[in-house]
Symmetry: C2
Subunit: 348 residues, 2 copies
């Protein structure tokens, strides 16, 4: 039972990184539903969603009276003695992060934005004392293949993460903090490992995995795009819709359904860069794949090749979560959802 | 190759927790050898060992001209802008820690002494820029059994740690930081997971595992001792000698011998509390075991029962490390090394 849950009929939600692509999509999904069940408790109407981000919320979100924006740097907001941002929060979705490529290029940035911020957020939630439900977006990047310690061919729920990037280490440490702050009763934490999300709309970011979206999104818009790794590169993909579904399921599952405090691997579609390009060609023709620039990028290859391509998600499947049916279907979803960003489509 | 290694003929060593039982034993072993090979490099004479600790070094160590003491709180020493303590260090053994029982009772103490101090030490080593060899004493407490996530019957080198104590979480996070600071080239880190050390001489500490030593040490001295868990409780034991041997091997192994950056499970003798008591009786008679107070202690049981009893250490064995032959032999070693602390012995 949440503290004071019986007295409350409405719910307040905080999303860190709330103006980002996933945060905004999560907020839209929550607004559309209008209510949420936390950890198996009865549904409650969502009265407020606070988007914590350096960037302002997208216009459609800003226009909703239930949305409020807390503009600024997350670490600074957490360091502030004013805890009003957090005191009323029934649920916190912690999506804010520096991404993989950035963290590899700037170690201190990653330690600040991922390691220190996640710790500070947990301390803040502990200090506030309301024991919020806290969903932490970890990443498949906790799994890293290396010559000294090869990954098994198939990742399972109990596979030992051996991160090969600073981003992966920082996310894995965040999972450990989440587990102990939960065990101690300071928060009700659930960590979910997001897969490579594709197709992300909008602009490229600094993630090493960014091209997995760019190589679809840009050609669909008639723009050249980098595809800097070989065709046979394996990848574990989830669409934006499946990803948000996994994040929400983590908030909704009862403690018994959720099970251990270990992070949950979300389902993914196992595919390859070559198969993704083939799916793009089926949707948008050779004109689209002709726009792919196959110049190798060693820095990106070095990161991406450490990530696993095949992940068996028994635990997530038991929670009712499943992978996308095919990457072609994922592209068609993107085309349907982003009509203004698509120029090249040959078949419906 | 260590930075500047070719120019140096002597070696400076820092031991955090250097006045503690393991730190002092490690220092004595190093002084007796007089020289050390780091990571497969040629032997060099040990010119100085600095013991960082809140407590003063034992008299025998303080009398050695190669020993210097840095008295004080580790976190404060690391926060000091004066880095002279660390600048010349070729090797750092990071043994300082708050122990399991303390960390479970005082969350903030553990986060400060284990989580924050290990991070600060790595940052200090990074800032100093000499890329020291850094051995971190982790613990078998990273493995934790729970109803939601039972441990496998035998722990292997690649078993996923799911710590069930704050101490275990903090040690596991330390391992992750060590791995990434090493990968980035800031230090040459090696993490070793110490097993339950028994028989520790001296006074009891706040470790939940303390009774594994006390139940032998005190009866041998003719004093009553708590044995607060059932006979069948499994335990993975290593003697002080084997433990120091493992810590030193971590410093000596070449990168190729050491292998992955994952922490190394040190070898252990799988035994039970009942077998330990039986060994005590063989060494010191029924007069000794009659001194055992078998009153259960739920707080200690709760922690101890989450730890694994059987650990298969293929990787450590490949490094030439092995477990103690029997617990009776471990007790007889203790009797031989601590004649002044032993009153009850029936057979040699």
């Amino acid at each position: 039972m949440l503290v004071g849950e019986g007295d409350k009929t409405t719910m307040q939600i905080v999303i860190t990184g709330g103006a980002g692509f996933l945060g905004a999509r999560l907020a839209r999904t929550l607004l559309k539903r209008g209510e949420l069940s936390l950890a198996g408790a009865p549904l409650r109407a969502i009265s407020r969603i606070t988007l914590v981000d350096r960037a302002a919320p997208p216009a459609d979100l800003a226009a909703d009276p239930r949305i409020s924006a807390a503009l600024g740097d997350l670490n600074e907001q957490l360091a502030s003695p004013d805890a009003s941002l957090w005191t009323g929060a029934d649920a916190i979705f912690h999506l804010a992060a520096a991404v993989s490529g950035e963290c590899e290029a700037d170690f201190d940035l990653g330690m600040r934005s991922n390691f220190a911020a996640t710790h500070a957020l947990l301390e803040k939630a502990r200090t506030v004392g309301t024991r919020p439900l806290l969903v932490f977006a970890s990443s498949l990047a906790v799994f890293g293949d290396s010559p000294e310690q090869p990954l098994p061919p198939v990742i399972e729920d109990h596979t030992l993460p051996t991160p090969q990037t600073s981003y992966g280490i920082q996310k894995f440490i965040g999972e450990q903090l989440m587990a102990d702050y939960t065990r101690k009763g300071f928060v009700r934490g659930r960590s979910v490992r997001l897969m490579t999300v594709s197709v992300r709309p909008g602009r490229p970011n600094g993630a090493a995995s960014g091209f997995f979206s760019g190589m679809i999104r840009e050609p669909l818009a008639g723009i050249r795009a980098a595809c800097p790794v070989p065709d046979e590169t394996p990848v574990a993909i989830a669409s934006p819709a499946r990803t948000v579904e996994g994040i929400l399921r983590a908030a909704q599952a009862s403690d018994a359904e959720w099970g251990p405090r270990t992070a949950l691997n979300l389902p993914s579609l196992s595919t390859t860069v070559g198969e993704m390009a083939a799916a793009l060609e089926r949707v948008a023709g050779k004109a689209a794949t002709d726009l792919l620039d196959r110049t190798p990028d060693p820095a990106i290859q070095r990161i991406v090749k450490t990530w696993p391509g095949r992940i068996e998600t028994v635990r997530a499947n038991r929670l009712g979560l499943s992978a996308d049916a095919s990457f072609e279907a994922v592209i068609r979803d993107y085309v349907r959802e982003n009509p203004d960003a698509v120029k090249l489509v040959i078949a419906a």
